[in-house]
């Protein structure tokens, strides 16, 4: 409980909550879009093995997670150091060992976990049908359909979250995000038809 209180206090002091919310939505959307593109692309070329999608999707998800983690960490660490230096100048004292310094270091790590975890999570969820397909639970075509449905649902959900955050219409914002996924799917399907 004390550990959780400390985390809450660091989040409050560092003001990392809105930043991590942005990272979550942006990177989660990236994760879902990438796997959606991969799955629809694989469907267009007529995949014969679910293992191909599972492993290439897993590779892409892992890369997005790692990229999100390191990118967010480095960006937030640099921003945090700049803010802390400026505050130290105003305070005329070092703040590295104070709760402000600790909160700043925690904020970088928190942003990195969210920035890396979000695409890995959404990408991973979209790949579950293919993983189950390798175990013989689904056919490839059913795995494609479920995976696309999952990716589009995640996009809608992310849009709805944005609508809730901004106190606007959740359905409308969900539909706006969903449209992006639908455009991608339609473009790929049109490619298959040509």
């Amino acid at each position: 409980m004390k550990f959780l209180d400390q985390i809450k206090s660091y989040i409050k002091i560092s003001g990392v909550a809105p930043i991590s919310r942005r990272y979550f939505v942006m990177n989660a959307f990236d994760g879902a879009t990438t796997v959606l593109g991969l799955v629809v692309g694989a469907y267009v070329v007529g995949i014969s093995s679910e293992l191909w999608v599972t492993w290439s999707g897993f590779g892409a998800t892992l890369a997005m997670g790692l990229s999100g983690f390191t990118g967010s960490y480095m960006a937030e660490e640099a921003e945090g150091a700049k803010k802390l230096n400026s505050l130290e100048k105003s305070m005329l004292t070092g703040l590295k060992d104070s709760v402000v310094g600790k909160a700043s270091r925690f904020a970088s790590l928190w942003a990195a976990i969210i920035g890396g975890g979000a695409p890995a999570l959404t990408g991973g969820v979209c790949l579950i049908p293919f993983f189950l397909s390798t175990k013989g639970l689904f056919s490839i075509s059913l795995a494609v359909q479920i995976s696309v449905a999952l990716a589009l649902s995640i996009m809608f959900l992310l849009g709805a979250i944005l609508g809730r955050i901004s106190n606007r219409n959740m359905l409308f914002h969900g539909a706006k995000m969903l449209l992006v996924g639908l455009i991608l799917t339609v473009v790929f399907l049109a490619l298959k038809l040509t």
Binding site: M91, L92, T93, V100
Partner: protein, 98 residues
């Protein structure tokens, strides 16, 4: 045996005075805390911190303030001993003000 401390403190905006006063009130020997903001700057604020109790450790108060990112600029008043002695006005004080 310190009973009352009045400190001039410079602190960042976060943690705020509510968190600061709560943290100080949990220190051993502290019975009450009052924090008044005197001045607010873009990044920092100047506060008057009054700590009252039965046996206050100045070092503990200073350490806690530093832990929370604040610095003690000056010790403006200390009351120690078996009872708190209040400031008294003397004829010199009133003539000095005239």
């Amino acid at each position: 045996m310190i009973r009352r401390l009045v400190l001039d403190v410079l602190k960042p905006h976060k943690p705020n005075v509510v968190e600061l006063s709560e943290a100080l009130s949990h220190l051993q020997g502290v019975e009450g805390v009052n924090i008044i903001i005197n001045e607010i700057d873009q990044q920092v604020e100047n506060a008057k911190v009054i700590v009252a109790g039965v046996s206050i450790s100045f070092e503990d108060v200073k350490k806690k303030l530093e832990e929370l990112g604040a610095t003690v600029h000056s010790i403006d008043e200390v009351a120690a001993g078996k009872r708190i002695v209040e400031e008294v006005m003397t004829p010199q004080d009133s003539s000095a003000r005239m």
